[in-house]
């Protein structure tokens, strides 16, 4: 897979094992600048591990992730921290700093990494909060926010320094339908407005298919299927069909592997 000038993230033959148990097995992906990509798969399929590998939080067993031309796991700590200023990440439940107000949460990175005067930080923070519709909530503490609001603040915080890439770890979990579509639309709108690449790790098929450009399905550590939302909806591949339509049984079985039901209930002996 070659790096075109438009490619921001390239995942090449990525393998990762935890305690000798393979989590990812030879994953290939490319993400273009400005693209919104969804990574879907069941629980424990290695989606979040993939995000941690892209951000350099863990090192691959083999293969590499190239971000903005640099191989992430080869960087030393300082270079990695420098690279991370170009990345944002939205954690599952926002991970806002509970001892800081909404304003200070969004201002956190600006104060840590820049020498901007406080007046400019104020303007920038209010602009970021306005983009997520929460300018009026800048004085609140995180414990006064609803789940959806907390995630919007976290979104404003992760775009504070205008990153090139933003990663969303299950952004739709536990949200009411209104908050869910607000977050979904924000992901798309912010990507388009700021020219960011977005990676959305999610279970929420219907919501994410509305906003993304490309989908990867991960199952058992490999890419089981990939395509545009249109292709995914029409796919007849058994795994994709089961996942997109939420079918109970299919390639991912309803029953945990077990010996035969009749033998478990001691029926076979009596029949014999």
């Amino acid at each position: 897979m070659s790096m075109t000038p438009e490619t921001l993230v390239e995942v090449h033959d990525l393998n990762f094992s935890y305690d000798r148990r393979p989590i990812l097995k030879g994953v290939h992906m490319t993400m273009q600048r400005g693209q919104v990509v969804a990574i879907m798969g069941g629980s424990g399929s290695g989606k979040t591990t993939l995000l941690r590998l892209i951000s350099g939080a863990i090192k691959p067993t083999s293969g590499y992730v190239r971000f903005a031309g640099e191989v992430v796991h080869e960087l030393n700590r300082d270079a990695l921290f420098k690279l991370r200023r170009k990345m944002g990440m939205l954690f599952q439940f926002g991970a806002l700093f509970t001892d800081l107000s909404v304003f200070d949460n969004v201002a956190f990175q600006m104060r840590e990494h820049t020498n901007l005067p406080e007046s400019m930080i104020r303007d920038l923070v209010l602009m970021k909060l306005h983009a997520v519709g929460l300018r009026g909530a800048h004085h609140l503490m995180p414990n006064a926010l609803s789940g959806g609001m907390a995630r919007r603040v976290a979104l404003a915080r992760s775009i504070a320094l205008d990153p090139m890439l933003i990663m969303y770890d299950e952004p739709f979990t536990g949200l009411d339908p209104i908050s869910l579509s607000v977050i979904g639309n924000l992901i798309r709108r912010l990507s388009d407005a700021l020219g960011m690449t977005s990676i959305v790790v999610t279970h929420d098929v219907q919501e994410s298919l509305k906003i993304v450009d490309y989908v990867y399905f991960i199952a058992d550590g490999v890419i089981a299927a990939q395509g545009t939302p249109q292709e995914v909806r029409q796919s007849v591949a058994p795994f994709v069909h089961q996942f997109v339509h939420g079918e109970e049984d299919g390639p991912v079985p309803f029953h945990y592997p077990a010996q035969s039901y009749s033998r478990d209930l001691d029926l076979e002996d009596s029949i014999a």
Partner: protein
């Protein structure tokens, strides 16, 4: 058959002892490496001292009430007990000396440190542990800000700075408590309470040594508290277990350290 079972039990017993020893040694090494890491990453805290000042409020100022009240009562009890014993020998005027020396040399640093471990140490562990459990530390790392430098080091230094002050305040309140009970309530001569205290308490051997002890306790308690918090499994049980461990380990370390320090400090002093 029975012999084999018994010998099997013995072997597995020895194995589990060995396993525990290795486990605790490993953990001690890990904690020491973490401690060195915190020291190495203290630059940010020292450059941006307002981060430490903020934590000084939470660890130091908020511990004041328990320190002041406990100090007062410990001093009052010392005064009562001291007077009760000393008056049998007609030397109740030495009660000031007894109260001051007990507090400045031992009770001030030790009891203040024990209270500090339960009030501030547990709070530090719980706070850092919860920040880890709610992914705040991971989020900080993703924002290219080192959590050890930004979260752990300021809390560590705030604890180290607070502890000697709290111990001193504890001793002062204790001396005042002793004064209240013996001079005001019982009627021991005020002049002899203070003058005997002044002549018996030595700055170098008593006050300075007490101060040095409280500094050691401050480093020990806060280092244990930040390590347990940072190392806590990111679950509810994990954080609660870590908080308990902070209080138990700190208390044992304070008492152990106190014995060692006392042995060194008063070596050859008669």
């Amino acid at each position: 058959m029975l012999k084999r079972i018994v010998s099997g039990r013995i072997v597995s017993g020895i194995q589990s002892i060995g396993h525990r020893v290795i486990e605790s040694t490993w953990r001690l090494g890990y904690a020491s490496r973490f401690f060195i890491l915190v020291l190495l990453k203290s630059g940010t805290s020292l450059r941006r001292f307002n981060l430490v000042v903020r934590e000084l409020y939470f660890t130091g100022v908020l511990s004041l009430i328990i320190i002041v009240v406990s100090g007062l009562f410990v001093g009052m009890v010392l005064g009562l007990q001291g007077y009760e014993t000393l008056q049998k020998y007609g030397s109740e005027s030495a009660v000031g000396t007894l109260v001051a020396l007990s507090l400045v040399r031992e009770l001030g640093p030790v009891v203040a440190a024990l209270l500090f471990a339960s009030r501030a140490g547990s709070a530090i562990t719980a706070e850092i542990g919860l920040m880890k459990a709610t992914e705040q530390l991971a989020a900080m790392g993703m924002m290219a800000v080192d959590p050890v430098a930004r979260v752990v080091a300021p809390r560590f230094w705030a604890g180290v700075i607070s502890m000697p002050f709290l111990a001193a305040i504890f001793s002062v309140m204790g001396v005042f408590g002793g004064y209240l009970v013996t001079v005001i309530f019982i009627g021991v001569d005020e002049g002899s309470y203070w003058s005997q205290m002044q002549s018996a308490v030595d700055f170098r051997f008593d006050i300075l040594n007490g101060f040095i002890k409280s500094c050691f306790f401050g480093v020990a308690v806060t280092a244990i508290a930040v390590f347990e918090g940072y190392d806590a499994p990111p679950t509810a049980e994990g954080v609660s277990g870590a908080t308990t461990r902070t209080v138990v380990t700190s208390s044992l370390v304070i008492l152990g350290l106190d014995f060692i320090l006392t042995a060194f400090m008063f070596r050859g002093v008669s």
